[in-house]
């Protein structure tokens, strides 16, 4: 038995996951081949809104290798409606959401028919022979237009395009004052309307699903973030007894919220497999993925910030329009609501009002995308703070310091009704300033302005916090979410002292196997390499709520700690029995129970072997050290940080180049700094991509123009800078490890830092906003327009 001298938590352990990924020994869903397996191809609507008046599959059925074809009408009786688990208001309007369209299509890309064939090529060949008659209906695309009176309707049966309106008011909630009064009495008012463009999650592994209906349990392999939720939802949607379904998420190639879904393709595959009695596989192409997997963001944000001339903010009013797309998917309506609690950021705003109107359009549904609601809110408040600073000719960091919660004021009850447990915005900001050379860059900025350099320098600030670690179940209940926010873990002590850890979190690149091994190694005092982490299969891991919302460590990791504590508690009386001492005389450190004040000790592995033999256990003690724990957090975790971006803007071409990017994040204690670093880098990349590159663009017929990686500008290595990252450590007080979530922080913080930098460079020309992404054309056009077209 090895006692680990150095704590595992905090070590930059190389990942256990990597060896098989770098050698190509992978288990992607699309790799699976099962006996008798058939291949599916899906016919998708080329039009955004139409009545289906006829589907002729005769020619397609005669194609070589084609086994069957199903239309929406064929599956109508059994497909039910795809689930929406977040009815945000009691009167929320939700249209039925078939997996395979029955009589209307409501977005271009919606599934209309499915071909089953011997091979994937043959299945795709047959798609071209299916003849669908569409009777086109008025197309609703513009978000503001859709919400206006008299608009054409996406779902005429609902009588409106408005799904729900959700409001929070600090005066009503008793968390603050009346924002209207603050606006009336304001010495300075800043009003802006920002557009959160529609984004595509664009995980690298296209979605894939395999279903085997040939055993007592129907088994589904899916490239999903949520095997547990998927199993439950399949059971509830399709009325299959839950114990007759097993879901496996094998290796999953990224998700970013995009695989937090119960998809039409999963339902279709299951229904077809059940009909045929044979395994089936469906793997989407990238083009299909861009077209039909859910999108993210897509809001219009109207903001009114009231302040005094000394820079003290007195109130913030937020009026949102949020594009749902054509249907409500798993958590579509709740995404903007997750932002409702974050528009006040790190600040002591005394009054706050939030209204969100959720609107249907003829586009693919929106849903979770990395940050989910919080990037939108953080962007808005951080942009507004920079605008206010400019209005008052104050340094943007100084303005923030006049409004932020100071480190002595924690825990702090916010105007949006949350309690921030901890934080130190001063320390993170001071460190970021230093790393960035803030004062030096400000001097250079002045020089460039004075000499009217064609390349101007802008400095963007984002001092963010976010709520993550979803979530206290009671809070979710109060928000009408359909499930809790706990997580489950189990630990199995094997007779040889090796350990199996079962987690309900479901990784898809985050490195749970490594991080959980570190946690267990410390808790049980066993070697890192003696721990195996199992996940992603409802048979091995029967309980869980999966991975999203930066929840895995702060909820799932803590469940692991709790399970380990139970293992030790079970082992203690046995160890006492083995050494013929009282339990109270034992201390457990470094994997050994020691009789206090003596050298007498037994290792946890010795106890595990004794339990296995069970020859001599105390009376009434079961021969088993295995333990389970389900952990429900009391509060969210609130990572925060200060991000500073220096951007060079070529005023003649509109080209933006990020010259330096510094972020100092405070995520409390760190289990594995290597993994944290990677999460921050990747998060930054996605936030920067929203600021500068990515946008889902539709033409006037509702066709997605940015439907491949040739048009959707997901950044490559040449489009991104190297980042300078630092950390401060203010431990979370709500969990025993003092950890906070880190999966989304970079994405949440970086978008406003970059856009603020761009505007800081061009504000001198009279530019006060540039719609994202800040492409060369948009930046050039903004400068040109502000200067009266004379430049």
């Amino acid at each position: 038995m090895t006692a680990t001298a150095q704590p595992e938590i905090g070590r930059a352990r190389l990942r256990k996951e990597d060896e098989h990924l770098i050698t190509g020994r992978t288990r992607w869903t699309d790799n699976l081949v099962l006996p008798g397996m058939q291949h599916l191809a899906i016919l998708r609507s080329p039009v955004a809104h139409a009545r289906i008046t006829g589907v002729d599959t005769t020619a397609a059925r005669g194609m070589p290798g084609v086994v069957a074809i199903f239309t929406g009408a064929d599956l109508a009786a059994e497909q039910g409606s795809l689930p929406c688990a977040w009815p945000i208001t009691e009167d929320m309007k939700a249209p039925p959401a078939p997996s395979l369209a029955v009589d209307t299509v409501n977005f271009a890309g919606e599934a209309v028919a499915v071909v089953v064939a011997r091979g994937a090529y043959e299945a795709h060949d047959a798609l071209e022979k299916i003849d669908v008659d569409y009777d086109e209906l008025p197309i609703v695309l513009d978000l503001a237009g859709a919400a206006a009176d008299g608009a054409d309707l996406v779902h005429p049966d609902l009588g409106t395009n408005i799904s729900a309106t959700w409001t929070f008011d600090s005066a009503e909630a008793g968390t603050g004052g009346d924002v209207e009064q603050a606006i009336r009495e304001a010495e300075v008012l800043v009003q802006r309307t920002f557009r959160q463009q529609r984004l595509i999650p664009a995980f690298m592994e296209p979605r894939s699903v395999v279903v085997d209906p040939t055993a007592a349990q129907i088994t589904m392999w899916s490239s999903t973030q949520i095997p547990h939720i998927l199993r439950l939802m399949l059971a509830m949607t399709l009325h299959i007894p839950e114990h007759k379904v097993r879901v496996i998420a094998p290796d999953v190639g990224g998700g970013f919220g995009g695989k937090l879904q119960v998809t039409p393709e999963e339902v279709i595959a299951l229904l077809v497999a059940r009909r045929l009695g044979k395994p089936v596989k469906y793997t989407e192409s990238r083009s299909e993925s861009m077209l039909a997997a859910h999108h993210g963001r897509d809001q219009i944000q109207k903001l009114t910030l009231a302040a005094r001339r000394d820079g003290t903010v007195t109130g913030l009013k937020v009026e949102l329009l949020a594009d749902m797309g054509a249907y409500l998917r798993l958590v579509t309506p709740g995404i903007p609501i997750l932002g409702a609690f974050m528009f006040n950021g790190i600040y002591k705003f005394p009054s706050y009002h939030f209204t969100c109107t959720n609107v249907f359009t003829n586009k693919v549904p929106t849903d979770a995308y990395r940050g989910a609601g919080r990037p939108e809110a953080t962007f808005a408040v951080e942009r507004m703070m920079d605008e206010l600073a400019a209005e008052l000719s104050l340094d943007p960091l100084e303005l923030r310091a006049r409004n932020w919660i100071t480190h002595e004021e924690f825990p702090f009850d916010t105007v949006a009704g949350l309690t921030y447990d901890s934080g130190n915005y001063e320390a993170a900001t001071a460190r970021a300033r230093e790393l960035f050379d803030y004062d030096g860059l400000r001097r250079e900025q002045v020089e460039r302005r004075e000499r009217q350099d064609t390349v101007q320098l802008g400095i963007g600030v984002s001092t963010f916090t976010e709520m993550c670690g979803l979530a206290p179940s009671r809070t979710l209940g109060a928000l009408a979410y359909g499930a809790g926010g706990w997580e489950h873990a189990a630990i199995r002590m094997l007779p040889t002292g090796k350990v199996e850890v079962v987690t309900g979190a479901s990784p898809h690149g985050q490195g749970h196997e490594t991080a959980w091994s570190q946690i267990v190694a410390d808790q049980l005092g066993v070697p890192f390499d003696d721990v195996e982490v199992l996940h992603g299969d409802t048979q091995t891991s029967p309980r869980g709520l999966d991975t999203y919302g930066s929840r895995s460590l702060t909820v799932g990791g803590i469940a692991v700690v709790k399970a380990a504590e139970k293992v030790i508690a079970k082992a203690r009386p046995i160890a006492a029995h083995m050494m013929e001492c009282a339990e109270d005389d034992l201390e457990f450190t470094g994997g050994r129970f020691r009789v206090t004040g003596t050298e007498k000790a037994v290792g946890i592995a010795d106890v595990a072997l004794a339990v296995f033999a069970a020859h001599d256990l105390p009376d009434g003690v079961e021969p088993n050290l295995d333990s389970e724990a389900t952990y429900d957090p009391d509060n969210f975790s609130f990572p925060h940080g200060t991000h500073l971006c220096a951007a060079e803007v070529d005023t003649e071409t509109g080209q933006v180049r990020i010259r330096s990017y510094v972020c100092v994040d405070d995520i409390g204690h760190v289990v594995n700094p290597l993994i944290v670093e990677g999460q921050v880098h990747g998060g930054l990349a996605q936030g920067i991509a929203q600021a500068l590159y990515e946008e889902a663009v539709h033409d006037e017929s509702g066709t997605l123009l940015s439907g491949s990686f040739a048009e959707y500008l997901m950044p490559s290595a040449v489009d991104l800078p190297s980042f300078t990252t630092g950390r401060t450590q203010t431990p979370a007080t709500g969990n025993p490890l003092g950890v906070k979530g880190v999966g989304e922080a970079g994405t949440i913080a970086s978008t406003p830092a970059v856009v603020n930098a761009v505007l800081d460079a061009v504000r001198q020309f009279g530019v006060h906003d540039i719609e994202m992404p800040c492409s060369p054309m948009r930046v050039w056009h903004a400068i040109h327009t502000a200067q009266g077209g004379a430049r």
């Binding site: 190389l14 050698t23 790799n31 690298m204 290597l674 944290v676 990677g678 880098h681 991104l720 630092g726």
Partner: protein
């Protein structure tokens, strides 16, 4: 059509449809599922393999074009149970998260380093421009490629160690990389 292709050292002869893509031949006919498909426009590079010593996107090559050729995939890189230095460098620099782009990145790196054994940051970034990653933000991939370059040139130290030391430093007092 009948083709004969050597893949990772083994020679195969097969009847294939003329339209069959090389990547599908590798995955579906030979079981070389370490090579993956990430897009359908040859933008993402996840399917990158070597054909006759140069990197190609195997989604943009027909299997029949590989007739008589020699294909190397990520599965053929490690020898005698020993990882290739590029594979080691990717692991040691935490240059992968979900790992889906990794086979393509590694195979493209092999090509890049054959042409430029000591690339600077910009050279690496341009050399990998045709390979997309959604997880890492590329910074650790760039480091991994430079680390691999050093290993292949016979340098003794690896920046993988530096990453770990730096990350540990950042842990304590708002350190920086």
């Amino acid at each position: 059509m009948r083709i004969t292709v050597t893949v990772d050292g083994t020679t195969y002869t097969d009847e294939v449809e003329p339209r069959l893509l090389l990547v599908h031949y590798l995955r579906d006919r030979l079981g070389k599922v370490g090579t993956v498909v990430g897009c359908d426009t040859s933008n993402c590079g996840a399917c990158t393999v070597h054909l006759n010593g140069h990197s190609v996107k195997s989604c943009s090559v027909l299997a029949v074009q590989a007739d008589g050729g020699d294909v190397l995939t990520v599965e053929g890189l490690s020898r005698d149970g020993k990882l290739h230095p590029i594979q080691e460098a990717f692991r040691d620099n935490h240059a992968l998260q979900c790992g889906f782009c990794t086979p393509g990145m590694i195979m493209q790196t092999l090509d890049l380093l054959a042409e430029e054994p000591d690339p600077d940051d910009e050279t690496v970034r341009h050399g990998l421009e045709g390979n997309l990653c959604r997880c890492t933000g590329y910074q650790n991939i760039v480091r991994a490629v430079q680390d691999a370059a050093q290993r292949l040139r016979g340098g003794a130290t690896s920046s993988g160690d530096a990453v770990i030391k730096d990350a540990a430093k950042a842990e304590t007092a708002g350190g920086v990389r």
